[in-house]
């Protein structure tokens, strides 16, 4: 039996408390490395149960305008993959229990290359990976090496993933399953809560893993409604938009950048914790 990961421990803990997890997404290096570090450090205190840290990519095909812009801000500030891992290492010195999942696209990992990447990511304190453009048909690329190194590999299930295909998606998934609540890109359409709950139930019939719901969840009210029928809610574009809105005319962070993200997370967290 392999050791329990931080993700598994966190979900077990929240299950005991009968509460859904709040998973927050920010992009590493957005709007710059120092500010991203401050935001990252402030997330657990604001109520984030699990942190998704986006690895910036020049061509984020599955993302809407808000996260595209955050990726570009980070890259323009000179962000590299090494900085992403540095952020995680710094975070781990202060917080040994909040899980961190790196989310992004395959190419920056492929050129790293993949085998070295899983080694360095695990050593830095990363707990799991979500890579948008590697389907289960290509598990040998990254998923299997990641699992071997003790990382969770979190797979996306979508409204187009039918019952016939679902077992393939679930086969090497671990940590949790990420249900994409809409057919679309991040941060655009609002999900239909009833349809989402039905889909989460469908997935849970085939797996004992916790199911998180994301893409399009923005407000505390939406988060609360979704959380009633899921194990976790993922919010990203709302945080990233708060960063964008706080920037000065020169696109540099202002005094409100960190606090505005904290406020968004606090609002979401309160919606999930109170009855």
């Amino acid at each position: 039996m392999t050791q329990r990961t931080r993700i598994e421990a966190r979900f077990a803990d929240l299950k005991a408390k009968k509460r859904a997890a709040l998973i927050t997404f920010i992009t590493a290096g957005d709007p710059d490395l120092a500010t991203a570090r401050e935001i990252l450090m402030a997330l657990p205190g604001a109520g984030a149960d699990i942190i998704e840290l986006g690895m910036p990519f020049s061509d984020p095909m599955a993302d809407g305008p808000a996260i595209q812009a955050s990726s570009l801000r980070a890259l323009r500030a000179g962000h590299k993959m090494a900085h992403t891992l540095e952020l995680v290492r710094d975070f781990r010195k202060a917080d040994t229990t909040t899980p961190i999942v790196l989310m992004g696209y395959y190419n920056p990992i492929f050129v790293y290359p993949a085998e070295t990447f899983v080694e360095d990511a695990a050593a830095a304190g990363v707990d799991g990976l979500i890579i948008v453009d590697i389907p289960p048909e290509a598990d040998d690329e990254l998923c299997l090496p990641a699992i071997k190194r003790g990382l969770n590999f979190i797979r996306l299930a979508t409204p187009t993933t039918d019952d016939k295909r679902l077992p393939a998606v679930l086969a090497n998934s671990s940590g949790f399953v990420y249900y994409v609540s809409i057919t679309g890109i991040t941060g655009t359409a609002a999900p239909d809560v009833y349809a989402v709950h039905k889909q989460v139930a469908r997935i849970k019939r085939q797996t004992s893993l916790p199911v998180a719901v994301g893409f399009g969840v923005k407000t505390p009210e939406q988060a609360k409604a979704i959380a009633a029928g899921a194990d976790a809610v993922v919010v990203g574009s709302a945080l990233v938009s708060a960063i964008a809105d706080s920037l000065g005319k020169d696109q540099k962070p202002s005094r409100t950048t960190v606090t505005s993200v904290v406020k968004v997370v606090q609002g979401l967290s309160q919606a999930l914790t109170k009855d």
Binding site: P56, F57, S58, D59, P60, M61, A62, G64, Q68, L72, L75, K80, M81, Y106, N107, P108, I109, F110, V111, Y112, V132, D133, I134, P135, E137, A138, R155, L156, A157, T158, P159, T160, T161, D162, R165, V169, V180, T183, G184, I185, T188, A189
Partner: protein, 417 residues
């Protein structure tokens, strides 16, 4: 040599395989290249497309309908033309042009669009999307959508919309909606990102017509198959004209669809020398100043496939540069990547300046205004042909006409319109 279960080489620079025409395997791999690297939302759609194409491929009714359209709508076969004055001028190989610029809409792009629109109809899709760079593919898509009465959205980089106005207007006349892609540098790769985002958001009714031999499997193989009519015709036409096969093939490479169309039929005729000409832009030594992904890039994963990409050390995609908007793409079809590594095809490059010179030469000597894309192929022909014997039969794919380029050529040459 390492062979995988499908008999394809899995190591770069491996020794000669028995056939270069067996790929891809069922997962879409050409050697280590290709594959299906897309978001889960699109996987079921791509698998559905794969099944539909496999069924269509063996259906005589599908082939019959396509052939009829080629003959009466597209104007195929396109001539194989002996470029007599070019041959005299270069004093070497006997030069033939495959005249795919004479196709309906003015380039080879229509060959693929006719095939895919028939497939979309078979699949019951009611909305078409596409990406375009120079606008030749966009015009071809808008054309087949008009012909079959389907609504059409073409994504085009905002920068390209500005430099290719005549094609934007043509698309609009044909009834297509041209949506600007404003992310990144707002060129072809960004248009492809936007098209993929559209497809993820419209999964039930929409068919995505990719314009080149790239993207997730089955696109690279399917587009190649639809373009392979070029090489099939050349084989027959050359037998008629000269009683034997050509010795040398030359085509320009952006994504590489016109080149695969010419090359594929001849890959196992190993005595034939094959050259793909990439866009050298300002020169291969100028950082981010060219679009030669195989001569100046390295393997990576983008837009659904593994292939050679222009990218920095951290895996971020570079924009590249070419005078030709149609070659201005940071990747290349995965089958080309495989043919490069196995050494079957030699990939070279021509700069913006060389292409402009060849553009003028062709116009003056042959009375044919070529597109800037095949002008790159011709630029290499002007270097290669003089070194070849007079009985060397050289075929260059003249894959597009230059009407669309006259504005930018005038600007580059400092001429008044």
């Amino acid at each position: 040599m390492t062979l995988n279960q499908h008999g394809l080489t899995t190591m770069p620079h491996a020794t000669t395989p028995n056939s270069y025409r067996t790929g891809p395997d069922e997962r879409g791999h050409f050697g280590t290249y290709g594959g299906r690297f897309v978001a889960e939302t699109l996987m079921p759609l791509i698998l559905e497309l794969d099944r539909a194409y496999e069924a269509a491929k063996t259906d005589p009714a599908f082939a019959g309908e396509l052939s009829n359209l080629h003959t009466h709508y597209n104007g195929r076969p396109s001539p194989l033309y002996f470029a007599e004055r070019m041959t005299e001028h270069l004093k070497g190989a006997k030069i033939y042009f495959k005249r795919d610029e004479l196709n309906h809409t003015g380039s080879h792009k229509i060959n693929n669009c006719l095939g895919q629109i028939l497939l979309a109809r078979r699949m019951g899709k009611t909305r078409i999307i596409a990406e375009t760079g120079a606008g030749q593919h966009g015009v071809a898509v808008a054309t087949v959508c008009a012909r079959f009465g389907l609504p059409c959205v073409v994504y085009m980089g905002a920068t390209d919309i500005e430099r290719q106005k005549p094609n934007v207007f043509r698309m609009k006349l044909l009834g297509a909606e041209v949506r600007p892609a404003v992310s990144g540098n707002a060129t072809l790769k960004d248009a492809m990102n936007e098209a993929l985002r559209d497809w993820v958001s419209n999964v039930t009714d929409t068919y995505y017509i990719i314009g080149t031999v790239a993207g997730p499997h089955p696109y690279p193989a399917m587009v190649r198959d639809f373009q392979s009519i070029i090489g099939k015709e050349v084989r027959e036409q050359m037998m008629t004209a000269e009683g034997r096969l050509p010795d040398t093939l030359v085509a320009c490479i952006g994504g590489g669809s016109n080149a695969m169309g010419l090359f594929h039929n001849f890959l196992d005729d190993k005595s034939i020398a094959i050259y793909g000409v990439e866009a050298g832009g300002h020169g291969l030594d100028v950082e981010n100043g060219h679009a030669a992904s195989m001569n100046g890039g390295k393997p990576g994963v983008l837009h659904g496939n593994r292939t050679y990409l222009l990218q920095d050390d951290d895996g971020q995609i570079l924009e590249g540069h070419s005078i030709s908007a149609g070659l201005d793409y940071p990747g290349v079809g995965p089958e080309h990547a495989y043919l490069r590594d196995t050494g079957r095809v030699t990939y070279v490059s021509a700069t913006d300046k060389e292409a402009l010179t060849a553009f003028q030469l062709c116009t003056k000597l042959e009375g044919i205004i070529p597109a800037l894309e095949p002008a790159h192929a011709l630029a290499y022909v002007t270097k290669l042909a003089p070194k070849l014997k007079k009985d060397n039969l050289l075929v260059m794919n003249l894959c597009g006409r230059g009407d669309k380029d006259i504005f930018s050529v005038a600007e580059h040459l400092g001429m008044e319109m």
